[in-house]
C-alpha cells in the first residue's frame, strides 16, 4: 500500500515537472515579441511594418541571435555569408547541423515548434519550399528587393523566394583525364571506365537527382519524362563507367571520383580548392542536357527570433548578399536585375562556367512525378 502511494506521488511530481517544462518555451517567446515596442515581428510582412529598415535592424539586434540549420560553410559561400552578417549587425548566428537535408529542416520546424532552438530561417530544395508553404509552416515576408525577383521564382506573398541556383555540370580532373567530357553522351566512352560519379544518391540528394533529370533531357526525355535519365545511368553502369562513390572534396583529392556530376557552383568552388593541391579541376556544363534549379529561402512561421530572421532575408537579397552567393559560384536570383543596374560584381560573374540559352523550369507537379518515378526505378536500374 505504501509503495503504491509513493509511486503515485512520484508520478504526480514527474507530471508537474513535464507540464512546467512545456509551459516554459512559449513563455520566453512571448517576452521576445513584447520587447519590440508594439511591433509584432512574427507577423511583419515587410520592413515597413517595423517602421522602416532601421527599426528592423534595431529589433533584430535586440533579439541578438539567429538560429540557422543546414547551411554548409563550403556550399554557395555560406561560411562567408554567415561571418559577414554577424560582423555587420552584431547578431550571433548559431549554425546547427550544416550537412542536414531539406527533409531534416522541415522536421526541425515541425518538431521544435515553440522551442527556442527551432530554426529561424530555412534554405530548402524547391519542392520542399512548395510543400512546406502548403502546410502553412512559413511566414510571408517581402524583402525590399522583392519586386525585382523574376516571376515564377517567388511565392506571390513571399512565403518562399528562390535565392540562388546553378546548372548541372560535369567536373573533371584534367591532370588524370586526357579529354574532359563535355556532354552526357561523352560519359559513355570507354576511356571513362569506373570514373563517373554523382554527388550523392539521387533518391536522397538534390544535386544527384538533378543529374538524372539533366541526363533525361540529354537523352530524349523531358520535364515530364525522367525515364531516359534512369536508362542512361543503367547504360553507364552496364558500360562499367558508373562509379558509386559519392563525391566529396576528399574523394576528388584522392582521385577516386575523377569525373563528378554536380551543381556547377559546387564543381566551380572545388576548382580553386583543388588547384592549391595540384589538381586541375575543370567544369563543363553538358552541351546536351542543361538543367537549372534554384534553392528557396523561407522564414519559419514560429521563428524564435522573428526580427533577426527577417533581417537575414533582407541581407541575403541585398546586393551585398547576392554578390556573396556569386562569390561561391552560385547564380543569385537577382543576377538579371543586378546586371541591369550595375550592382553585380562583374569579375565574379565572369568566373562562372559559361552557358548558352535561358533556363527553363519544370513545374512542381512535373518534379513530383519525376521523383516518384525515380524512387521506384533507380534501384532496379543501378543495383546488382
Amino acid at each position: 500500500m505504501f509503495t503504491y502511494r509513493a509511486r503515485a506521488a512520484g508520478l504526480a511530481a514527474a507530471l508537474t515537472v513535464v507540464t512546467a517544462a512545456c509551459g516554459a518555451a512559449p513563455g520566453t517567446q512571448a517576452t521576445t515579441q513584447a520587447s519590440q515596442g508594439g511591433v509584432n515581428a512574427a507577423t511583419a510582412t515587410s520592413a515597413a511594418d517595423f517602421g522602416g529598415f532601421d527599426k528592423l535592424v534595431e529589433a533584430a539586434k535586440k533579439e541578438g541571435n539567429l538560429h540557422v540549420i543546414a547551411l554548409p560553410p563550403d556550399w554557395a559561400n555560406y561560411g562567408e555569408i554567415i561571418e559577414k552578417f554577424q560582423a555587420k549587425y552584431g547578431i550571433k548566428i548559431e549554425s546547427e547541423t550544416p550537412d542536414a537535408a531539406s527533409a531534416d529542416e522541415i522536421n526541425a520546424v515541425k518538431t521544435r515548434k515553440g522551442q527556442d532552438r527551432a530554426p529561424d530561417v530555412l534554405d530548402l530544395g524547391q519542392s520542399f519550399a512548395i510543400s512546406g508553404a502548403a502546410e502553412g509552416l512559413f511566414a510571408p515576408y517581402k524583402v525590399q528587393t522583392f519586386d525585382k525577383i523574376p516571376e515564377g521564382q517567388k511565392e506571390s506573398t513571399g512565403l518562399w523566394v528562390n535565392d540562388y541556383g546553378g546548372y548541372v555540370s560535369i567536373g573533371c580532373d584534367a591532370k588524370k583525364i586526357a579529354t574532359c567530357p563535355t556532354s552526357f553522351a561523352d560519359l559513355l566512352k570507354p576511356e571513362y571506365k569506373g570514373k563517373v560519379a554523382l554527388n550523392g544518391n539521387p533518391t536522397k540528394s538534390g544535386s544527384a537527382f538533378a543529374g538524372v533529370y539533366a541526363a533525361a533531357l540529354a537523352n530524349g526525355g523531358s520535364f515530364d519524362d525522367i525515364q531516359p535519365g534512369i536508362d542512361f545511368f543503367k547504360k553507364l553502369k552496364d558500360a562499367g563507367n558508373y562509379n558509386p562513390v559519392e563525391t566529396t572534396p576528399a574523394t576528388i583529392e584522392k582521385g577516386e571520383t575523377q569525373i563528378s556530376i554536380d551543381w556547377d557552383y559546387n564543381n566551380a568552388a572545388y576548382a580553386p580548392q583543388m588547384a592549391a593541391k595540384g589538381i586541375d579541376w575543370k567544369v563543363n556544363i553538358p552541351s546536351d542536357g542543361k538543367y537549372f534549379q534554384m534553392y528557396a529561402q523561407a522564414i519559419n512561421k514560429d521563428a524564435p527570433h522573428p526580427a533577426a530572421a527577417r533581417l537575414w532575408q533582407e541581407f541575403l537579397y541585398s546586393a551585398e548578399g547576392q554578390n556573396l552567393f556569386l562569390k561561391g559560384f552560385a547564380r543569385p536570383v537577382l543576377m538579371p536585375a543586378m546586371t541591369a543596374d550595375g550592382t553585380v560584381d562583374k569579375a565574379l560573374a565572369e568566373k562562372l562556367p559559361s552557358v548558352e540559352g535561358t533556363p527553363t523550369f519544370p513545374t512542381s507537379a512535373q518534379v513530383d512525378a519525376a521523383k516518384a518515378k525515380l524512387a521506384s526505378g533507380w534501384d532496379a536500374a543501378i543495383s546488382g
Binding site: 562509379n243 576528399a250 524512387a375
Partner: protein
Amino acid sequence: MSRTRSKGWLGALPLLAFFALVFGVPAIALVVGAFTVQGRPSLANLAQSLQGGYLNAMIGSVRLSAVVALLGAVLGTFLAHAVVTSRFTLLREAVLTASGVLANFGGVPLAFFWIATLGNSGVVSGLIGLPSGSLYTFWGLVVVYLYFSIPLMVLVMAPALDGLRPQWREAAANNGATAWHYWRFVALPVLTPAMLGGVVLLFGSSFSAYATANAMVGTVVPLVTLKIASALTGDVLIGYENIALALSLDMVVVAGLVMAVYLPLQRRSSRWLH
C-alpha cells in the same frame, strides 16, 4: 523468497522507466506511424515496404548480413583458437587488444580507409591489378564488413575457448578419441552457445550498418538501411516517412526471427555447460 523477488523488481524500476521512455515510446511511435497513411490507419505502407525495390533491399540486407555472419563466425573462431593456443602471450595480448579496437571501427572512416586502399585509385589496387569498381560490389562490402566482424567474433570466442579445459582433451585422448572426435563431441558442443551468440551479434551489426555502405556503394548494393535513410531524410522524396517506419518494422521482425531461431538453440546447447 517471494518477498525478496518483489523488492528486487522494485529496484529495477528506474531502469524499466528509462527503458520505457527511450525504447518503448519510440517503438510505439514506430508501429503507429507504420500503420498510418495520411492520418488514417492503413496497411499500405507495410504492403509497399514488401514489394519492388523495398523488398529487394530487404533481401539484400539479409543476404549480406547472413554471409558476413557465417564467414565472420568461422574465420573469427579459427583466429581466436590460433591466438588462444599460441605460446606467445605477447601475440595473444596484441591480437585481443587490436580486436577490441577494430571491432568498433566503422562508419565513413572505415569506408574511406578501404576506398584509399582498394578503391579505383587505391594504393593497393594498382599493385595487385584489381579491376575498377570491384570494391563497390556485394562482395566488396562483405570484405569491408568482415574487417570489423572477425575481430568482434574473436572477442566473443576467446573467453569461451579459454574455458575449454586441457583435461577434457586428455580425458578424450585417454579414451581413444581422435582430434576430430574431441572437436565433434566435446569442444564444439561446449562452444556452440558462444558461437551462436557471435553469429547473432555479427548478423545484427551488419544488418544495421549504414554509414559505411552509404559512403562506399551508394545504391549499387540495395540495403534496407539506405532505403530508410532515403525515405526519411533527404532533398528529394517528400511524404515517404511512414514507409521508412514500415521498413524499420520489417527490420524489427527480421531481428526477432533471428532471435527466435537463436534462443531455443542456445538453450539446448547451453545444457552442456551445466
